[in-house]
């Protein structure tokens, strides 16, 4: 039997029932389109989170004092003073896989310029902090290692601080502001970064030499944290292992005892966030997949009705020489044509819907090739799977009864 002929027969039968065919197709169209759109939304949000994280520095590693648990009691990390300047110096000299390293001490408080004041955070860091956090100095310049040595009363401010303190639009460079009682001269302004994915304003900060903050503002000798950059994202895990070894040694922690510090990498944060969006993507895809399944059942339903309705036609075809498998293939081809055509339209509609979401709502959306291929393959299989049973039923009809069926 010529399959071209069977395809012609199936097309003819479909064209006799265009509206019904379209309605059946609609289930598949909606199913495929929603699978593609949902996966695009999921993938898009995953990508935008990754982008934002890499803006913060995807190879960033943070060391904080104190383990999460200490003898079964959860401790507040900032209360602990286990992280010292010596740790920073040791790391600076001994750690591998690290491209930049900066200590961190921070203080919250009001910053004052004349009649204006605003609450902000003062971060005491080394010049390398800019690289680690991917900040750039827009105007002026960053303080130097010499400023750090001298504990100079200089600072670099974020755009939000500038906006709050210099309401008249004056040039902040060279002006002296006060943080608490300590006057500091502004020598640079950071290029604005905007809000991060967690909704924090990344421009609401003041950077000053860590020595200045330690000695003049807080009067402490310990550190609140150490920020580092791994050579690249892939080296994060190895760098963490290395740092753990160094710190356990300098802190003289015996084997089997808990660390009195914790090391986190941005990589962990990003995989945590990704796992959340992954779960969301899976849920969305499940819902969309169910609609595809419902579409498939629609095909089965219509094919079933079609077989019953065309019993006489089937009987006649058999009487004039159609074999069982000709009838089987005819109905199967009909089901597959419905599902494949529906699938194609669905793919186009899904991509279109994704584009509309992107440009009209502004969500970040990304259509992946695999989601298109996957949903198209699934809907073709759906057509074969749900078309099989009615087609089988048609092919097993007894021509004697079928031809006299009323």
């Amino acid at each position: 039997m010529n399959y071209n002929n069977l395809i012609k027969i199936a097309l003819k039968a479909l064209s006799n029932n265009k509206f019904r065919g379209f309605l059946t197709m609609l289930g598949i169209i909606i199913g495929v389109a929603s699978v593609i759109a949902m996966l695009a939304i999921g993938q898009g949000s995953k990508r935008s989170i990754r982008e934002q994280i890499s803006e913060m520095g995807s190879n960033m590693i943070m060391i904080h004092p104190g383990a999460d648990r200490f003898g079964g009691v959860r401790q507040s990390a900032s209360d602990m003073q286990t992280l010292k300047l010596e740790d920073y110096n040791t790391i600076l000299h001994e750690a591998s896989y690290i491209s930049a390293c900066s200590p961190m001490v921070n203080a919250s408080g009001q910053v004052v310029n004349g009649a204006n004041n605003a609450p902000t955070t003062l971060n005491g860091v080394a010049p390398a902090y800019l690289d680690i956090r991917k900040y750039e100095v827009g105007q002026g310049e960053m303080f130097t290692e010499a400023d750090v040595k001298k504990a100079a009363k200089v600072c670099v401010v974020g755009q939000t601080v500038v906006d709050n303190l210099f309401t008249n639009g004056e040039d902040p460079l060279g002006k002296t502001i006060r943080f608490g009682k300590i006057p500091m001269r502004i020598i640079g302004v950071l290029t604005p970064k905007g809000y991060n994915s967690m909704g924090q304003d990344q421009d609401d900060l003041i950077l000053a030499p860590y020595t200045t903050v330690q000695k003049r503002v807080l009067a402490i000798t310990y550190l609140h944290g150490i920020f580092l950059s791994a050579i690249s994202e892939e080296f994060s895990d190895r760098a963490i292992d290395d740092l753990t070894g160094i710190l356990r040694q300098t802190h003289r922690i015996k084997a089997g005892d808990d660390d009195n510090f914790s090391i986190r990498s941005q990589e962990e944060l990003s995989s945590m966030l990704s796992s959340t969006t992954n779960l969301m993507t899976v849920l969305l895809a499940c819902i969309a997949g169910i609609s595809l399944l419902v579409g498939g059942i629609g095909i089965m339903n219509i094919m079933y009705v079609s077989v019953t309705e065309r019993t006489r036609e089937i009987g006649l075809r058999m009487a004039i020489g159609a074999k069982g498998r000709h009838i089987l293939f005819q109905f199967l081809i009909e089901a597959v044509i419905i599902s494949v055509t529906g699938g194609l339209i669905g793919v186009l509609l899904g991509i279109g819907a994704a584009a509309v979401i992107k440009y009209a709502i502004g969500w970040s959306v990304y259509v992946q090739l695999y989601s298109v291929i996957l949903s198209f393959a699934v809907c073709t299989l759906t057509g074969i799977f749900f078309g099989w049973y009615p087609a089988r039923k048609a092919s097993e009809l007894d021509p004697i009864e079928a031809i006299r069926y009323e």
Binding site: I320, G321, K323, I400
Partner: protein, 247 residues
């Protein structure tokens, strides 16, 4: 050796209905030569439908033998019988059984779709020929729902002729038609007979036997009468003698 299209020997067909066995056909034997126009008559329950199904290779006998054009049908499988029907039999049914919303040409082409040896071009040519042969040259592109009952039955006859069968098997082919159209169809059958076609016409209407060359009567699954008709009436003459239609 004589050229038998149909040779039936001691044909039996039993049906099992619950615990009972119904003997639809009991030891039926006959032969039909090429070029015969045979009517098979019988009331309902006489076994003529069962015989028709067996002759049409849609059903197989419980015992006995059936040779169609020299081929033993009884031992054939479902698929082989389908092919045999496609090549050797042309069916004409009481209710035409044309595909809805389909043109006359497409309906006639249908049997050739299931014959891979026939190309699309040949399929169309042969179908047009068949439609011309039944006098529907001007209705080729008409859809089945745009035609009268008589025209639809002509399309069905064209469909039965298109595969060039060894026998045309008609099942109450005039049963749904009015008197005038019935005679038109009978005229067509007589013409095909005159052209040398073998026709088996199953009917319960005794009148039709006057127009065939031979009549086999069935009763309770047995042949009660098998006579050759030496005085064939012409359907054409009957048609001419009918009062002209009013419109």
């Amino acid at each position: 050796m004589e050229n038998y299209i149909i040779r039936v020997e001691k044909l039996r067909r039993d049906f099992h209905v619950g615990d009972e066995t119904v003997h639809a056909l009991r030891d039926v034997s006959f032969s039909i030569r090429q070029g015969e126009f045979v009517t098979i008559m019988g009331t309902s329950g006489s076994g003529k439908s069962t015989l028709l199904n067996i002759l049409g290779c849609l059903d197989t006998p419980t015992s006995g033998d059936y040779y169609l054009d020299g081929v033993a049908v009884r031992t054939m499988g479902r698929n082989d019988r389908a092919t045999l029907r496609n090549r050797k039999i042309g069916f004409v049914f009481q209710s035409y059984n044309l595909l809805p919303k389909t043109t006359a040409l497409e309906n006639v082409e249908l049997p050739l779709f299931y014959n891979p040896a026939v190309s699309a071009h040949e399929r169309q040519e042969r179908s047009i020929e068949a439609l011309k042969a039944v006098g529907l040259a001007d209705r080729i592109r008409h859809r089945s729902n745009q035609m009268s009952g008589g025209q639809q039955q002509r399309v069905a006859i064209a469909r039965a002729l298109v595969n060039n069968p060894v026998m045309i098997l008609a099942d109450e082919a005039t049963g749904n038609l009015d008197t005038r159209t019935s005679f038109e169809i009978l005229t067509l059958f007589q013409r095909l007979h005159a052209e040398g076609r073998t026709i088996v016409f199953v009917t319960h209407n005794p009148e039709i036997s006057q127009f065939s060359s031979r009549n086999i009567t069935l009763r309770d699954g047995r042949i009660t009468d098998d006579t050759t008709n030496d005085n064939i009436r012409s359907a054409r003459e009957v048609l001419d003698s009918l009062p002209a239609e009013e419109n």
